[in-house]
């Protein structure tokens, strides 16, 4: 049994190719059904996100399955296979498993450590389960993949550091305030960036949101959305003392907030710290505000630098993640080889054959008068009996190997016929 992966991602293919062969969500079931209808493909899984399109399959014949996956990708989207080949990558067995583990752990992502990919993979698996294109092996592989991704997240710092502007703003706020619970936020300007950052902050159960915007209606609208309060734009400095975190993103030219204003506010607040986030260009808050004691000011470039530092920190964590993946690949492969059906069938046949030989020797010992022809007939007869008896169990084992019950049948057979050697002695005794 071999696992095969074929696909392309943001590194191997430009967006013009990726968009051509991306699978729309509503067509994924259809694609999977077609895929598993091919004789080479026993089980199939399809992962299609904006950064990658990948097909995973389970097959007896790896190379044949890989070429089928490639031709399927081309056929399904009506593009020529030659135009894809340079962008497609192909992994077999251990390499394929490693690739899947790395994808799920977000080591292969555009932004290492981003959390979405695991959710997308879970969705892909749910679709495949829905149309029964995955069986015993891929199901087991995917469950293993999810647990590997979880291990990587919990045992390395790969997902700890924020890599988007609004995430990094939240992370910085947490380095200043600890928990953001019961901290209040003021946003000046009600643009898209403000809304996005506000959403992240409110997710941390902040206590109150104040919104100031030049058009008051828009401020009201946003305040309503986040259960906050709108304040008149010209009066916003009066409300500053109530805010722990101030987020500015207006189109104003010239500073809305100066150092001396902030000094006054900090005094009013009895030195309780304030965090200013200025994501406007040109800037809304005077840079010298950062020099005020207990006031921290980050502009858009500062946040970008924080992100760069985070990305570097993640790179280090990635090495540790690779080690975890190596370990888990070993475990999965051991399972896969245990699973191999053929040894069980072979053991079963050998076991019965041994019994037959023993019993025949006994019988021939007692019936010394038998001629060679009769002996041959008895031999053929008993052989046929065994073959007939084994026919159905083996057929069922083969039939069921693709679903979850296959493992149980294998276990049952090994136990009932004493293939692992435990009950063998009793039989003879």
């Amino acid at each position: 049994m071999q696992i095969v992966a074929v696909g392309l991602n943001h590194k191997s293919a430009p967006v013009s190719i990726r968009e051509q062969i991306a699978f729309a969500p509503e067509r994924q079931e259809e694609a999977l059904r077609q895929l598993v209808a091919s004789p080479e493909i026993l089980e199939g899984l399809l992962l299609s996100t904006c950064n990658r399109v990948e097909l995973y399959a389970c097959s007896h014949d790896g190379p044949a399955a890989a070429s089928r996956l490639k031709s399927f990708l081309a056929e399904f989207h009506g593009v020529s296979e030659e135009s894809l080949t340079t962008h497609l990558y192909e992994f077999h067995s251990e390499q394929a498993i490693r690739h899947l583990f790395r994808v799920a752990s977000s080591l292969d992502s555009m932004v290492i450590g981003e959390p979405q990919i695991l959710g997308q993979l879970k969705d892909a698996f749910a679709v495949a389960e829905g149309c029964r294109s995955v069986g015993l092996i891929l199901t087991r592989l995917l469950h293993k993949t999810f647990s590997v991704a979880k291990r990587v997240r919990s045992e390395t710092t790969i997902a700890c550091q924020a890599v988007s502007i609004s995430y990094s703003a939240v992370e910085l706020a947490r380095k200043i305030f600890g928990s953001l619970q019961d901290r209040s936020v003021m946003i000046i300007g009600a643009g898209e960036m403000c809304e996005l950052a506000a959403r992240h902050l409110v997710n941390h159960k902040t206590a109150g949101l104040l919104v100031a915007n030049r058009t008051f209606e828009r401020a009201l609208e946003l305040a309503k959305k986040f259960d906050g309060r709108a304040v008149p734009f010209n009066d916003f400095p009066d409300y500053l003392a109530q805010a722990d975190i101030v987020l500015a993103s207006t189109a104003a030219t010239g500073y809305l907030l100066t150092r001396s204003q902030v000094e006054k506010v900090i005094r009013q607040r009895k030195n309780r710290p304030m965090f200013f986030i200025d994501i406007a260009v040109p800037r809304n808050i005077e840079p010298a505000v950062n020099e005020v004691n207990n006031a921290y000011l980050y502009d858009i470039d500062d946040l970008q630098n924080v992100i760069d530092a985070n990305v570097k920190e993640r790179g280090k964590a990635a090495d540790k993640a690779e080690a975890i993946i190596d370990q888990e690949i070993g475990r999965f492969q051991r399972w896969l080889s245990d699973l191999e059906l053929t040894p069980t069938i072979r053991d079963l046949q050998q076991q019965l054959e041994r019994v037959r030989q023993q019993e025949m020797d006994k019988t021939f010992g007692q019936l010394q008068t038998l001629g060679p022809e009769e002996r041959q007939a008895i031999d053929a007869c008993t052989g046929a009996i065994i073959k007939k008896i084994l026919h159905r169990p083996i057929a069922i084992l083969k039939e069921r190997r693709h679903d979850m019950s296959g493992e149980q049948y294998l276990d049952a057979v090994r136990m009932l016929f004493g293939l692992d050697g435990e009950t063998e002695d009793k039989d003879q005794g």
């Binding site: 045992e155 710092t157 947490r174 380095k175 305030f177 600890g178 009895k270 950062n290 207990n294 920190e313």
Partner: protein, 276 residues
Amino acid sequence: MSILLFKITLLSYLAASCGYLVYIASGRCTAEKIGRWLIRGGFVLHCATLALRFFEAGYTPVANLHESLSFFAWCITGIFLLFDLRYGLAVLGAFLSPLALLLMVIGNAVPQQLAQPSPILDSWWFPLHVSLAFLGNAFFAIAFIAGVMYLLQERMLKSKRLSALFFRLPSLDTLDTLNYRCLTWGFPLMTMGIISGAAWANSTWGSYWRWDPKETWALISWFVYAALLHGRLAIGWRGRRAALLAIIGFLCLLFTFLGVNLLLSGLHSFEALSGR
């Protein structure tokens, strides 16, 4: 025998410091766990060391520099372990275990023989005075470390240069709260330490306060912490200023503890204590 245990304790603090430093540098949680168990183990050994020393000496073993340093390190480690149970601040260990180690290393370098028995050591005021004083000092040591961590973290936030340390250090708010907690514990302990010392002095020498250098410096440190406490409660000092004062206060304390003994002489010198 207690000296041997002392050396083993020192080694386990050394190992704990290494574990914590590896954690700081690499972010490996296992290193932090190892560090924590080593310092716990070290603390248990340290308890045994002190108990043994007590039986060998027949007095509370804080009568010479070696014993005082060991006792101080024990107080710091013990209080750190309590804080660690309560707040789980692993990074604190990375700063604190080297401090405990430093005290132990100095303690290892100075003469370690038992002090001469002396009538003033028989008084019950002696263990009471030194325990209160050192427990107070231990809280201030943690406030000092929280202050150093605060300044580091604030420096990184202000300069916007984030090193690996930035990701491990707790938030400014946590550090400031820690500073306050230590102050509210350390200050009453220190005050009681000074009062009990005065009572002991009265029962031994017949006067409460004699302005010897140790007393003077203890009073200076007391004023620094009183100012900090007042500033925090009444004026709303916090953050950087509170951190700086906690650092200054601890430096005064260190001078009171070590500087006065090594550089100046007076009633508190260990020679005076051991009656030589």
